[in-house]
Symmetry: C2
Subunit: 202 residues, 2 copies
């Protein structure tokens, strides 16, 4: 996808170290107020070292989106493949999504805040992320329709919006509840709500 | 709710004019990059006039949240009261929510972007907004449970997160689709998805 990332540099531990430090700084101070020097200090490297791997602060965030997104996404895909039927796939996807964010709170903050900000700019990386998610959800829905467990008239594009919006809001609510409950405790109730809806069947 | 807003000044046309101009500027340039001078120019008033009504740029956004939120919210409540049964209330609420944002695109942009930003700061006004919405949704759900059309085991707090997250995402998707469809065309499909879920009943 992102042609400007050299796979060798991505595997480099200093690259990883800087990226991880940047996420911590962006999460705590907000992207706008963070500086490359602060990232360097957090990563324990000289300012100049940052520029061996990244063009500037924007580029660090770009790399975060493309690198982290790809990493998290391959977890999602593995998790989906682990299940046979569509409903288990959907359940696994939701649970893994919440688990990844539960396990990396700084990443969660940066995603929740900066994705929204950059979406304003119709950022190409956000678009890619959104498309990948759409493809994954569509394939699950189509399988579920073939299995007869997902209704054939479901508007898939809308369902993807509802699902991602719901997950997003569940993560944000959790972030600001400051650890009063586990994020993953919401996975099964959320899955059930999406499947059953709120209506009483009668 | 917001004790620092003088109702007289709120009805003042210059106050309104400045607020409207500010929303336009914030929507187009982002809040962070906007200046009080730009707002003054857009509103056709002197810089000093702004300070008769607002302490600073932050205060303008605060007023926007409390004034606009209250205005939009009273529309929601009217719309809900217009219906008798719970499902019609929910349908009306969703439709009106989308309609208000369809009709004021600048407001939509500022809400979608700045709410998210300020939520980071656990802003008190955002909390109030979220609580009002929760109260409205809960009362509809409880009525629906009494009427036997909403299942009694529905987790209300989660449903509110799903509903607001879904609406949010539907609005954001529409904003960046640049008017290819009417936002309100999503109201009935969204209502139906929330009520029926995605599952095939068999």
């Amino acid at each position: 996808m992102s042609e400007n990332n050299n796979p060798d540099s991505r595997k480099n531990s200093k690259y990883q170290q800087i990226l991880q430090a940047a996420i911590k700084i962006f999460a705590r101070q907000g992207y706008y107020k963070s500086t490359v020097s602060q990232v360097a200090r957090e990563a324990g490297v000289a300012d100049g070292t940052i520029y061996l791997y990244f063009k500037n602060k924007d580029d660090i965030l770009d790399h975060f989106f493309s690198y982290k997104t790809r990493e998290v996404f391959s977890c999602f895909q593995q998790e989906v493949r682990r299940a046979d039927n569509a409903l288990d796939k959907l359940r696994n996807l939701i649970r893994r999504h919440l688990l990844e964010f539960e396990n990396d709170r700084d990443m969660a903050v940066v995603y929740q805040v900066e994705t929204r900000m950059r979406r304003r700019l119709s950022d190409i990386k956000i678009k890619e992320m959104s498309d990948m998610y759409f493809d994954l959800v569509s394939s699950i829905v189509r399988q579920g329709q073939q299995e007869g467990v997902i209704r054939p008239d479901l508007p898939i594009a809308l369902f993807k919006q509802v699902m991602i919006g719901a997950i997003d809001e569940v993560i944000t609510t959790w972030l600001y509840s400051s650890g009063k409950y586990r994020l993953t405790s919401m996975a099964d109730p959320l899955f059930e709500l999406l499947i059953r809806g709120v209506g009483e069947k009668n």
